[in-house]
């Protein structure tokens, strides 16, 4: 029997695993996808090789790339951007680590208190989470992002519209700022040269501004895994979890099993209470089923997979909120064309952002040509100049919203990948029961019935829709202020990438699955530590940091409640994931 089994080695699972391992618990960490232990031997920087959702090494599918990806039913025009493998979606994330807006938490009484999703606040105060933010920010670590030309262009636009600069971790009002990124900032020759002979560790340290955040970070060349620039969990928390004995007195290394898809949570009734007792998983390579028992089970497979696993395990759902309340920041994309260089495809993929508490936020994003083209074809507004799909909004951008097709798309791309600027509009969207994960009526796969991810983008709350329209106007103004000669509004169909709140913790037992400690209301010893546990859309900030702070708090709860331990956050000094003890153990163990 293990002390804890953690399902999913993505953004949240390794946080719980590392924290509990540091306390001396025996932890089994399961990952459905590949291990990716040798990025230089397995990965490239190429977009199709990396990001093709069917065949890429960062797809959502089996470790064996010759096998098809896993099917999900999407009953609307949309794209579900899941990633399997150790690191999960942090493998392709941009490392952006803004804190949630204080207005989404219990007890907030600022003058804009009514501007948020007030019906679905977090059941804890912002101040309660700050120590956990600080712990994660120190562990990853989170740093102020350097500026390249695309950031300079974004800042020019923000200055032009008169936005103030934010110089605090906590967002207090409308503002812009460099990102707080989980990226080791450039050191040595990094960021100063294109010469590959000068870009190897230790001559170069931290981010080399290569522009390939979306393809997984393996920079600088020959750096130990825990010193790769981007702090995706495969480069930060997982190395710490696997070397816990080396840097934490009494620590026990986590056992990591990849290619292991959890198919069932085991339970039994003890004293009239349903209790989680273990996990069954399937090995992809052999099809063999395995079962282990544990004192505590932590679900962290992701916002789509956790409700699926819950429902496939036959666990209770008395208020019918399992899978409901899916928030996705109802993204939109604004693309500005310039007659000057922006270096959009270079540098950290996103190192600048603007905040509009009560509305949401926005950030610049840099893409390679294939993903740029993909991003400019995702639309709910049809084809510009041909059909609007019932939309085709006009505003501060040029022409109707919608995808440019054929000659217009080609003209836009031929203007130059490094002479454009993308602004990702990140809407503060409301928790709505209609947006959800259910089980599909289509045939099950080898892991059971597949998830059906349902969004009703045209039927969202008035606040959500108004927030999005407000933000696209601001984004257009920033692009114009920066000198864009043409501005496209894509009116994206749901790009389900920032995913939150399908197994939400909540103030009320009527519309939440988890209590205020992230333990399941109806199954004891069962916790959730991925983005699905989040109570709401955070007001718009990117979710990973908050999910990791909450996972740290959840680990502490588990240790106190079921193992008689003492809390450590606020009492101890966190060990940074770049600590030399971690590095030496990573090298010695070939991790």
């Amino acid at each position: 029997m293990r002390d804890a089994i953690v399902i999913g080695a993505g953004g949240g699972g390794p946080v719980v695993a590392k924290e509990l391992a540091a306390r001396g618990l025996s932890v089994l960490l399961l990952e459905a996808g590949a291990r990716h232990a040798d990025p230089r031997g397995e990965w490239t920087h190429f977009e199709n090789d990396a990001n093709n959702p069917l065949t890429g090494f960062l797809r959502f599918g089996p470790a064996d790339r010759t096998k098809p990806a896993w099917f999900r039913e999407l009953p609307q025009n949309s794209f579900l951007f899941q990633v399997s493998g150790v690191g999960g979606t942090t493998q392709h994330y941009f490392g952006n680590c803004p804190r949630a807006y204080p207005g989404v938490f219990a007890g907030y009484d600022g003058p804009d208190a009514g501007a948020y999703d007030t019906a679905h606040r977090f059941p804890l105060r912002y101040a309660d989470l700050v120590p956990y933010y600080e712990w994660v920010e120190a562990t990853l670590p989170v740093q102020t992002a350097a500026m390249g030309r695309k950031e300079r262009t974004f800042f020019d636009g923000c200055e032009a519209i008169g936005l103030p600069v934010q110089t605090t971790k906590t967002t207090l009002g409308d503002s812009f700022r460099p990102q707080q990124n989980a990226i080791l900032q450039p050191g040595g020759s990094a960021g100063l040269t294109r010469d590959v002979t000068r870009l190897a560790f230790p001559q170069a340290t931290g981010c080399t501004l290569c522009g390939y955040c979306l393809q997984g970070c393996m920079e600088p060349i020959r750096a130990p895994r825990n010193l790769f620039a981007k702090r995706s969990t495969d480069n930060s928390y997982v190395p710490m979890a696997l070397t816990a004995d080396a840097w934490s007195p009494g620590g026990v290394p986590v056992t990591l099993i990849s290619d292991a898809f959890a198919t069932r949570i085991l339970t039994q009734t003890v004293g009239g209470q349903l209790v989680a007792t273990g996990v069954t998983w399937r090995t992809g390579a052999t099809g063999a089923l395995h079962t282990e028992t544990a004192q505590v089970v932590v679900m962290a497979g992701g916002t789509t997979e956790s409700p699926r696993l819950w429902l496939n395990s036959g666990l209770p759902n008395p208020n019918d909120w399992v899978g409901r309340g899916y928030t996705d920041h109802y993204f939109d994309l604004m693309v500005g064309l310039f007659d000057k260089t922006t270096d959009s495809s270079r540098g950290a993929a996103s190192a600048a952002r603007a905040e509009f508490p009560g509305r949401g936020g926005m950030e610049n994003i840099g893409l390679g040509p294939a993903l740029q083209a993909f991003a400019m074809q995702l639309s709910d507004s049809g084809a510009r100049g041909f059909y609007t799909n019932g939309r085709g909004f006009t505003g501060a951008w040029d022409g109707p919203s919608g995808r440019p097709i054929g000659p217009e798309l080609k003209d836009a791309l031929q203007n130059g990948i490094d002479r454009l600027l993308n602004i990702l509009v990140i809407t503060d969207d409301d928790v709505e029961a209609q947006n959800r994960v259910a089980l599909s009526a289509l045939p099950a796969d080898e892991h059971g019935p597949v998830p059906k991810v349902i969004f009703r983008p045209r039927n969202r709350t008035a606040r959500t829709l108004a927030n999005r329209e407000f933000l696209v106007g601001k984004a257009a103004a920033i692009l114009r202020g920066a000198g864009a000669t043409k501005v496209f509004r894509l009116d994206w169909a749901p790009l389900i990438l920032h995913v939150q709140s399908t197994m939400r913790m909540g103030m009320s037992a009527d519309d939440s699955v988890l209590d205020d400690t992230a333990e399941a209301r109806w199954v004891k010893r069962l916790f959730i530590a991925d983005n699905s546990a989040l109570a709401n859309a955070l007001g718009g900030p990117n979710p990973t940091l908050t999910s990791q702070a909450l996972a740290t708090r959840t680990a502490e709860t588990i240790f106190r409640r079921y193992f008689g331990g003492e809390p450590w956050v606020g009492r101890e000094t966190p060990v940074v994931s770049t600590d030399d003890r971690v590095t030496q153990a990573v090298i010695a163990r070939g991790l």
Binding site: G191, L209, G406
Partner: protein
């Protein structure tokens, strides 16, 4: 109203099989295959003959779509009225990209794809068409039994073939909506009616799919098992969007120039040429793009 014989021939023309059969079957049967010879082949042989024909049909259709996505100096771009001097999606290998991904990797359930394809095939047959006999070219003069045999062979493939490629139902879908928006697309230079459309008509055809036009939904619903019928409309919207996105991703990506054995490029991808990506040709482990820190601030705190 067309006669049953004519409408049956029309349906084969609509999905491109009659044209394809006319063009391609002579290679197997000889140019003067008679109705009797065709009939004597039997279903099994016709299925074997039609598999590559349908593969050609899918390729021709997707060529038409890739040119729509990113036009270039190719015949399909010229036919749609938007030729371009610089290379486009076809030169970038976009068609191979779509076919390879659809046929080998897309985990789309057969339970939807097969009945949807069968519904498209049979319903196309039943639609009355304002066709003159000359539209069929007068090249193949089929007896009803022969046309029926071809139809049955197509149905057999889409419904029963364990290796039926997904590019085929996608092609059938595109060709169906092509003939809805412009019946004149039944005749022309290519095998595929979709490939014969003008650029504007291709957009109108895509609107039929992306907006899940009710007639199209009802058509496919007629064959899909009842528990799945509510899924058709949403899946059509998904397919419509995904076609745009995936075609552009493939046309601008590196797949045509990528050697999986060495995990390196064999040449500069078309998408990189068009967009000026990595102008020095290096894939790169870093850029000299560091401008410093905004207002020289390297750290923020709430203190």
């Amino acid at each position: 109203m067309a006669t049953p014989d004519l409408s049956r021939r029309a349906f084969l023309a609509r999905i491109g099989v009659l044209g394809a059969g006319t063009l391609l079957l002579p290679g197997c049967l000889g140019p003067a295959a008679t109705d009797t010879e065709l009939a004597e082949l039997g279903l099994g042989s016709l299925v074997d003959l039609l598999r590559p024909v349908l593969g050609q049909l899918a390729r021709d259709t997707l060529n038409g779509f890739i040119a729509f996505s990113l036009p270039g100096p190719d015949d399909y771009s010229r036919a749609q009225g938007t030729p371009r001097a610089e290379p486009g999606g076809i030169a970038a290998g976009g068609t191979d990209f779509l076919i390879d991904n659809l046929d080998r990797f897309l985990p789309f359930p057969d339970e939807i794809a097969r009945p949807a394809a069968a519904a498209l095939v049979t319903a196309l047959r039943d639609l009355p068409l304002p066709l003159a006999g000359s539209l069929l070219g007068g090249i193949l003069v089929p007896a009803v039994v022969t046309i029926g045999l071809v139809e049955n062979a197509v149905l057999f493939i889409v419904q029963n073939d364990a290796t039926a490629p997904l590019s085929l139902p996608v092609a059938l879908l595109l060709n169906y909506v092509a003939t809805v928006v412009n019946p004149a697309s039944l005749n022309g230079a290519f095998i595929s009616p979709f490939a014969r459309l003008s650029f504007a008509d291709k957009a109108r055809a895509m609107a039929q799919i992306e907006t899940a036009q009710s007639g199209l939904v009802a058509l496919i619903d007629s064959r899909v098992p009842q528990p799945l019928q509510s899924s058709v409309s949403g899946l059509l919207q998904f397919v419509g969007g995904a076609l745009y996105e995936f075609a552009a991703f493939g046309a601008l990506g590196e797949s045509q120039r990528f050697d999986p054995a060495t995990r390196s490029l064999t040449g500069r991808p078309v998408g990189w040429q068009l967009t000026g990506f990595l102008p020095d040709g290096q894939t790169g482990d870093g850029w000299d793009n560091l401008l410093g820190y905004y207002q020289d601030r390297r750290e923020v705190t709430d203190a």
